[in-house]
Symmetry: C2
DNA sequence: GCATGTTAAGTGACAATGTCACTGAACCCC
DNA sequence: GGGGTTCAGTGACATTGTCACTTAACATGC
């Protein structure tokens, strides 16, 4: 159980005790299992989403069946794309998917609006969240429009591995990260393998030479 | 001279007279000639930008010299990317360029913040502006990652022409719209020409068969 | 007029990426 | 251990990106 989730968010931790107590009453705590769709074209929420724990992957699908990951929402962040979707009339096809089991705080639209009006700290938090996502998307556009696939893949491998050396993922999943086709990922990974930067087995990739990958990720 | 610019914007026209009068005092009116850089990496504004008249093209540049247009800001809209840029620490490389002579209203950050706090109408306007841009960027990502160049080019030709039949632009400029290379645009336009969808002369494109272009733009 | 420089557009070769249809390999489960 | 399923490898080809170059259109000064 969660004692006081308002501790967890930069935008709420700085608020006066009275406001936070009100929030605790008004918000709902939601848990979802890994793999659940948090939001999507058929499932547009009407509230603000704070991610208390876990990670959400926000991706976009083409009608030809290819996917691309736009960004990830980590614990402590809010997911503003949902609020954007509320306002948008147009059809769009972004979806949020729970990448781990998640715990989220759902704040009704009305409470959200009042909070934005009354609390400067919270306002800053919300605008920062929007800005953060705009910047994230600028980065995606830059990568997709101008980046080379081997560079992007090297970069993504390092990100996904974090401090570890092994990644459990399929070529198809990597392709869906980058918005490309599986065959392209296979080709590039084979090249990486030939250069002994990685080793592969079904569903697993071992990063043998992170330094070389970092160099590749920084090149071009 | 502008009599009362608050008439012009959805977010300000609905405000009480007293608030609008205060705005008229606090905001500054700025004019810029066609071709001027409204904002950019070296020129980050610290205020909210309302575009009163004209049009701004927001584009992103790669370090290899290619460009892509992200969206356009029309009269009556605000440009929130500037506010996003304020908050972002990271280097980004989007720039806003006056596509016509423009007249803009510059609202100091402080006045902006107070307005967001006090006026629900204005708040709605600001959030709608953010959402609009997020959606625009989603569209760009979708196009670049999954769209075919001939389709995108046909679409862009129709948009740029509007109700007219002729466009005055170079292949290079079209390439910079779409984030591709001039040679690619030349190739595709030659194909369109062969099919008698367009006619070309140096610096000009005549749309002969808009219907065919629309079909191409809708295909794939 | 004409020479000259500049910008726009065309061209061919090649590399990188996307698409398709298929094969082979690893894993799962009974 | 057989049979189905998912994952990865392969070759052919289409599209797009890159490079180095040529040709054409326009602008300017004489």
């Amino acid at each position: 159980m969660i004692a006081d989730w308002t501790e967890r968010f930069q935008g709420t931790a700085a608020l006066p005790r009275s406001v936070r107590d009100r929030l605790l009453k008004e918000a709902r705590i939601v848990e979802m299992p890994k793999g659940a769709q948090v939001f999507g074209p058929a499932n547009v929420p009407d509230s603000l989403f704070f991610l208390y724990d876990g990670r959400i992957r926000v991706s976009q699908s083409s009608d030809t069946g290819r996917d691309i990951v736009l960004y990830r929402v980590d614990a402590g962040e809010s997911c503003v794309l949902t609020t954007a979707c509320m306002l948008a009339e147009e059809a769009y096809n972004a979806e949020g998917m729970a990448e781990t089991d998640i715990t989220a705080i759902v704040l009704p639209k009305l409470a959200f609006d009042r909070l934005v009006a009354e609390e400067e700290e919270f306002r800053k938090f919300v605008f920062a969240a929007y800005s953060r996502r705009l910047i994230d998307l600028l980065r995606v556009v830059d990568d997709v429009a101008f980046g080379h696939m081997d560079v992007r893949l090297a970069e993504r491998l390092l990100t996904l591995a974090g401090e570890y050396k092994e990644i459990s993922t399929t070529h198809q999943q990597l392709a869906s990260e980058l918005g490309t086709a599986r065959e392209v990922v296979s080709r590039i990974l084979q090249d990486f393998q030939k250069r002994e930067m990685i080793a592969q087995s079904r569903g697993h990739i071992l990063l043998l030479d992170k330094q070389a990958l970092r160099e590749r990720a920084a090149s071009n």
